[in-house]
């Protein structure tokens, strides 16, 4: 026990001695310290895994993740939150940050489409999008200020449907939770959220001609406390390794 602990310590010291900060994969400056990433709620699972891989590839770097509605995160950045990277679920919220001088430019890294999520027992017998407009069907949507709500509104416009939800939730995960707890008959969430929820919800695809998508831009922030790590994280998300994690979760190429 003791020997192995000492052995481990020796390895750690050796590693620390050899590389005070890991070289970035892209061959840039060494990165170290903490990188704080504000990311759209729909990225919760994918970025959780992506951050672990990034940390493994860059020893000495810690990724701190904070998830929420893109609109709320954009407001936080503009209010001076000490963050390094912002990953938004819509162009609009990234533009709010860029306009306020919080970021120079952004790069789209994935896109996402919506799906109908219903509780496994499908209490209202939902089979298609038009079922959501039936009277008495309880539907949860995101509020229109957040990307999933804006995309849902676009889907209903495309389908020429008027759907009156019983609740407009603050972000996509809150909407998903209302479906998971079986308190609503259906919710409109991203296809990636349905996949992440596993057996807790059932997904019903929306036909392509009607469905709407949203592009996810990412940017290193101009006031980032750790600019080199911010740039490295953005590069990692755009790299084949990062894209592989995202596409495994159901995200599409932008």
């Amino acid at each position: 026990m003791r020997t192995s602990a000492i052995g481990l310590l020796a390895v750690l010291l050796a590693v620390a001695g050899c590389s005070p900060g890991a070289k970035d994969a892209a061959g840039g400056a060494s990165v170290h310290g903490t990188v704080t990433v504000l990311a759209a709620a729909s990225l919760t699972e994918a970025f959780g895994r992506l951050a672990k891989q990034f940390e493994a590839a860059h020893p000495g770097v810690t990724v701190k993740l904070s998830f929420g509605a893109s609109s709320a995160l954009a407001q936080q950045v503009n209010a001076g939150a000490p963050a390094d990277v912002f990953a938004s679920a819509a162009e609009k919220n990234m533009q709010q940050v860029i306009t306020a001088g919080g970021a120079g430019s952004s790069t789209d890294f994935v896109k996402n489409v919506l799906q109908i999520a219903v509780p496994p027992r499908n209490p209202a017998g939902i089979r298609q999008l038009s079922d959501l407009a039936r009277p008495g069907v309880k539907v949860a949507l995101c509020q229109v200020q957040v990307p999933c709500g804006a995309t849902a509104a676009q889907v209903f416009r495309n389908a020429r449907l008027t759907v009156r939800p019983v609740t407009e939730e603050a972000d996509v995960k809150a909407t998903l939770t209302k479906v998971e707890t079986d308190e609503v008959d259906a919710g409109l969430v991203y296809v990636t959220d349905v996949r992440a929820a596993g057996r807790k919800v059932t997904g019903i695809p929306i036909p392509d001609p009607v469905n709407a998508s949203t592009e996810y831009p990412i940017a290193a922030l101009t006031r980032a406390p750790n600019p080199s790590a911010a740039a490295a994280f953005v590069r990692y998300v755009l790299s084949p390794a990062g894209q592989a994690v995202l596409s495994a979760d159901g995200f599409e190429k932008p």
Binding site: Q143, Q145, V166, E168, D182, E183
Partner: protein, 265 residues
């Protein structure tokens, strides 16, 4: 009468910091209020709908709390039972529980798939979440303990001899409560009701968790403030100002109970 006392610096400095700490954020709200477009902001951002819903729900929750809370306070103050201390802690729990946890507990209990709610849903096809009734229930859960605590204290300190005198004059127990106890504790019931109403008006966590958020049905003022903050702080500040104004009015109404040293017993 106390003579004016010189305040020692060791107390004056932290006291001043403490006062500034409580005052400055509210001052900032006033400074940043978009006074010029205030009327337009309040009228245009579904602020009026949210305000009306808030006032209605808080009033309904206070009514429900009076109906259930005053008898509950009487039981806690007067009944001598071995388990009464435990009962009292349960009643006080929502005071210290994070409201989000309260909302989750309500959802698990009264949701259409909840421990108790499923029977109501099976029988009547009705469930509380996402209804205005759900908002009232969430607010009552969080706010009623404020009323119970205030009234219980008043009943404890009420003069029992008056009640006994009424009883010897032939009044039955219900009459004693209505004619003697209630008038005695009246001011405290009022103070408790105002406190309860103010807490219900500001309720956020339990409401959004249990009742969801939809304009006109479940989106009360605090939810509207949060909603507005998602896109634009200006309407949020305007709506917050209204809540601040209501809070000041509540404090003014309670001034005899609170601002007097030793008040709110």
């Amino acid at each position: 009468m106390d003579r004016p006392q010189r305040v020692p610096a060791v107390l004056a400095v932290p006291a001043a910091v403490g006062f500034a700490f409580l005052l400055l954020p509210l001052l900032a709200l006033l400074i940043r209020t978009p006074w010029r477009g205030l009327g337009r902001l309040l009228a245009s951002t579904s602020g009026l709908t949210a305000l009306r819903l808030s006032l209605e729900c808080a009033t309904a929750a206070t009514g429900l709390s009076l109906l259930l809370g005053v008898p509950l306070a009487w039981v806690l103050a007067r009944v001598r039972l071995p388990g009464i201390a435990l009962l009292r802690s349960v009643v006080l729990l929502p005071l210290v529980l994070p409201p989000v946890v309260g909302g989750l507990a309500l959802l698990l209990a009264l949701g259409r798939n909840g421990v108790f709610g499923r029977y109501g849903y099976a029988a009547f096809g009705y469930s509380l979440p996402f209804t205005t009734g759900g908002v009232v229930v969430a607010e009552t859960f969080v706010a009623m303990p404020f009323l119970v605590v205030t009234v219980e204290g008043a009943i404890r300190s009420a003069d029992r001899e008056l009640e006994e005198a009424a009883a010897t004059l032939g009044a039955n127990r219900a009459q004693v409560f209505r004619r003697v106890t209630l008038p005695l504790i009246g001011p405290s019931v009022l103070a408790g009701a105002v406190l309860c109403w103010a807490r219900a008006l500001g309720e956020f966590g339990a409401t959004i968790t249990f009742a969801g958020s939809f304009p006109g049905t479940t989106q009360t003022m605090p939810l509207a403030v949060y909603n507005a903050l998602q896109t634009d702080p200006e309407p949020a500040v305007a709506l917050s100002l209204v809540l601040l104004l209501v809070a000041v009015l509540v404090l003014a109404a309670l001034r005899d109970q609170w601002l007097r040293p030793g008040g709110l017993r």
